[in-house]
Symmetry: C2
């Protein structure tokens, strides 16, 4: 993934890309249904333009599967706790499978109870949180997804990393082609963005983003050892709350106990997720709700844009446009990702898909 970046960006049809990713996973002995979930999650992230959480991650996932840190054939178990609560044990499998089970469980609980709150333990990296909340929104729920992550964010007032970038996503159904989707790290940026984008492009990063080993702000992505919480005490507080839901309420353990993705390949990450679903129909007629959401969107779109903006965009709108465009024209892959995937293709003897832009 580091490599020479000698190849140009290419485009690959999203179905072809999913098939390719699945084939690699299966060649590494990942069970079919889990290969399907992981491929779906990674490719969807690329489709939405979140390449830091896309197929560029497949190489490290394979290292984890091969070395035993990710269980390639987990027995995921769901234990109901009450009418509106359940806990899922991911059995050290890929987070994509466990979080999907978690959201399915949350929606099943919500069908009767009005809301479902599900913790997930013994899990691993689950990709983008938006993948689960948009799935909930497609099924007429307000979806909530959070995960804790290993320590790479300094607490407000602290000089060393303690929290993870601990993201929160919420999606809301609409009458449009896409839901309103918030998906945010509780840090100023995700460490993954610094690692995958800034390092690859070898450009400076803003000084508000990260600190070096001494806890001092740095603009060199290579010196960045920790990122800073969003807006100081607020992002710090949100990051702690994500840890409480995902690490402590689940019993999985908080951010400082979560293992690394890019190291200790024979060790599971042992992180926790939280999936919540609110059944809108329990509260209001879902069509009336969506009509109100539509009116809200129209009013928001009528707000005069500031200088430098064409219009006020909804949370998740840029990603939804990117998804629509890339479903038509193919997923754009940057040279680093292409190189990584080609080397996997060779290693597992799977043919790499053709560039669909040719």
């Amino acid at each position: 993934m580091v490599g020479g970046d000698t190849e140009p960006a290419i485009r690959i049809d999203d179905d072809e890309l999913s098939r390719f990713v699945e084939q690699i996973l299966r060649a590494g002995d990942v069970a079919d249904k889990h290969a399907e979930r992981v491929a779906e999650g990674l490719v969807r992230a690329d489709l939405r333009g979140i390449s830091s959480h896309g197929v560029a991650r497949l190489e490290v996932y394979m290292k984890k599967f091969e070395a035993g840190g990710f269980n390639p054939n987990p027995e995921i178990t769901t234990t109901p706790l009450s009418d509106a609560a359940a806990v899922v044990d991911a059995d050290d499998g890929p987070g994509q499978s466990a979080a999907r089970v978690g959201m399915d469980t949350a929606m099943e609980l919500a069908a009767d109870a009005g809301a479902g709150m599900v913790t997930v333990t013994n899990s691993n990296h689950f990709g983008t949180a938006a993948g689960y909340t948009e799935y909930a929104a497609e099924n007429e729920h307000i979806g909530i997804a959070m995960t804790n992550v290993g320590p790479d964010v300094i607490p407000f007032g602290g000089a060393a990393p303690f929290l993870g970038t601990n993201p929160i996503s919420i999606s809301v159904p609409t009458n449009r082609e896409f839901p309103i989707t918030l998906d945010m790290a509780t840090s100023v940026v995700a460490m993954g963005k610094i690692q995958e984008v800034a390092r690859r492009e070898d450009t400076d990063i803003p000084s508000e983003w990260a600190v070096d080993a001494d806890g001092e702000p740095t603009t060199d992505p290579h010196d960045a050892v920790a990122v800073r919480p969003l807006g100081g005490p607020k992002g710090y507080g949100l990051g702690i709350m994500v840890d409480v839901f995902c690490g402590l309420l689940s019993g999985a353990g908080p951010s400082p106990t979560v293992g690394p993705l890019y190291d200790e390949f024979d060790e599971p990450m042992r992180l926790g997720h939280f999936l919540g679903a609110i059944d809108i129909e329990t509260f209001r007629d879902v069509e009336e709700f969506k009509q109100d959401v539509d009116d809200y969107i129209n009013q928001l779109k009528a707000v005069e844009p500031r200088d430098g903006f064409d219009e006020v965009m909804l949370p998740g709108e840029i990603e939804a446009e990117k998804l629509r465009e890339q479903r038509e024209s193919g997923v754009e892959l940057q040279p680093g990702a292409v190189e990584s995937l080609r080397s996997l293709a060779e290693q597992y003897d799977v043919s790499f898909p053709d560039d669909s832009s040719n």
Copy 2:
């Protein structure tokens, strides 16, 4: 409240102050139980050092009660919707009463279902969200509280206000004297802070805080017509989600439809709240959970502080220390608040409590 600020800051015993606030409310024909809730909420905000949401608000509350915008004797009704969901109609009464009913209902639902999710409609200003979540945490729940507020925050990329400062609070029980409590506006600051603190002190405000009538950043609090969302798209997204839960899921109506507190005194604000309670015991043994929270706090406190900080503080810790100190030494009231309360004392023929620091 604007006035000459000629009087010095004084301290008043918190029980005396509560009694005084209740007497004023009763003299304005506010029913006993509602007077009690409002007084408790306002004084608790001052105790925690959040004077922008404290007794300095009593004067405008009285204008609302007198003119009919706040119903002084509301019939608050609770409608169960499912095992884990309910809706509360505040009957245009004070938000403090309705939100308390909402959190009580959420905890009752959570006792059986594991979680309780409650929307509140037809409500008014409810003070600080932390008042309800700390109450939940004292009862061994994770508490969640949100409210929408009238439009005074620009959307990301927009030039005019649309969202409210739409705060979110979450509290978590601990073995310490106080819970971990996040209580944050989804804007850079609360408009109330600009109104009550910056204007009173007549100092400049940071340029990141607010915009003027043209949507341009301003440092003059008198020119500030709208505040900016926390961290751009993230705070904007969070503010929208608060509006979805409080305004749209409840049916109360979103921020742009919420009436003002400091104007149209004969009109209810018609805002919405969302109260959530997670019963910890449903997920884990509550003592084990609290032990894990304690270990977490100890690890966090062991993080080396940055230059300029003595130690890493918990969310809500500064407020908890202030509360303990002011319970002992009396609530410090600034000249503007004292003047406002003295004028109410005269108007309603209620004797103003003695300065307890003398």
